[in-house]
């Protein structure tokens, strides 16, 4: 399940959008004990000015991204705008049965997008 983008395209400024990953969707619900799924989210949106300059609580601004946005606003060219990508991620843990009927707990880093940024 994904949050539809505004106007059907990558509208609005760069920000985190909701994406729920359900283990049932890929048929793993029989052997994944918990969780049933998780909010992975994704990044989408324009990285033009001023979106490239997030507020004080946003991800750190990359000077290069600001430069590109400035160049693009002055004279759009092949370089294009910076990209809207994950800037801060967090882990998840998955509890499941493996092929030998062991109960396994695995921890995975960088599975959930908490914050997006222009890069």
């Amino acid at each position: 399940e994904a949050e539809p983008s505004v106007g059907g395209g990558p509208g609005g400024s760069c920000r985190t959008r909701r994406l729920y990953v359900s283990f049932r969707e890929v048929g793993w619900h029989r052997w994944v004990i918990a969780p049933r799924g998780f909010l992975a989210n994704y990044c989408q949106g324009q990285c033009s000015l001023p979106a490239t300059l997030p507020g004080p609580r946003g991800p750190p601004t990359l000077n290069h991204a600001v430069l590109r946005a400035l160049m693009h606003s002055a004279a759009p060219g092949p370089a294009g705008l910076p990209c809207c990508v994950p800037a801060r991620l967090s882990p998840i843990s998955v509890l499941f049965f493996d092929n030998s009927d062991n109960v396994v707990l695995r921890h995975y880093e960088d599975m959930v997008v908490d914050e997006c940024g222009c890069r």
Binding site: I92, S93, N99, V104, L105, H107
Partner: protein, 225 residues
């Protein structure tokens, strides 16, 4: 030459999660050990968010570290014994209690994974009310050799009561730290009453194995200047 067909989405996700393949068919239903639930709830960010609403935030959890067990690790496995064959020693040693062979299948563990905790958990059943068992027991753990032979005793441990599971740390005795995991672990267990008394029965043997897969650990990011 064409590269082999790209894996489907599910196979690609499995690969990204470091899993060789999805278990085939429905697993044999078995209860999830309370310890595994506790470890999952402790680490699961969604559970953590619920917890933060209920209790003041504690120190952030360190990546690649199992706080509850106090060791480095990012994979915890609860492995059930596949052996548990009861056999009695030679007739000359009649009067001795039975011994058990416990076999743990660790073939699912990847060679890159390093052991950081190997805990044997044994549940015994004995009539503690029988006379003479007040002195407790002595558990001995040895390696099983080919056939039903017994290798050298790896450790002995006093057992005061059988009401609680008996836990035995094997890392440092049966296995050295940071060594790769063997494909199978075969142990011979014996529980002898220290005073004359009845023998106990082994009801269940399981292994709690914590490993660290360094490939899934990101070097800690340097603080930004």
């Amino acid at each position: 030459a064409r590269a082999p067909g790209a894996p489907g989405p599910a196979a690609a996700l499995l690969q990204a999660l470091g899993l060789r393949d999805a278990p085939q068919g429905a697993p044999k239903p078995r209860p999830v050990p309370p310890m595994m639930w506790r470890l999952f709830r402790r680490r699961d960010p969604q559970e953590a968010r619920v917890r933060q609403r209920q209790t003041p935030p504690g120190a952030p959890l360190r990546p690649c570290y199992v706080e509850e067990l106090g060791v480095a690790g990012n994979i915890v496995r609860h492995v059930l014994d596949r052996g548990a064959h009861t056999w009695t020693p030679e007739p000359s040693a009649t009067g001795q209690c039975p011994q058990w062979t416990a076999i743990f299948d660790l073939s699912a563990v990847e060679p890159a994974e390093l052991m950081s905790r190997v805990r044997l958990e044994l549940r015994f059943v004995a009539e503690e009310r029988a006379p003479g068992t007040a002195g407790g027991w002595e558990l001995s753990v040895a390696r099983a050799t080919q056939g039903v032979g017994v290798g050298p005793v790896l450790l002995r441990q006093a057992v005061v009561s059988l009401r609680m599971p008996v836990r035995v740390e094997l890392l440092g005795t049966a296995y050295a730290h940071n060594t790769s995991v063997p494909r199978s672990l075969q142990l011979v267990l014996a529980l002898s009453p220290l005073a004359t008394g009845t023998c106990a029965c082994l009801a269940e043997a399981s292994l709690l194995l914590v490993t660290l897969d360094p490939r899934l650990c990101h070097p800690l990011a340097r603080p930004r200047r």
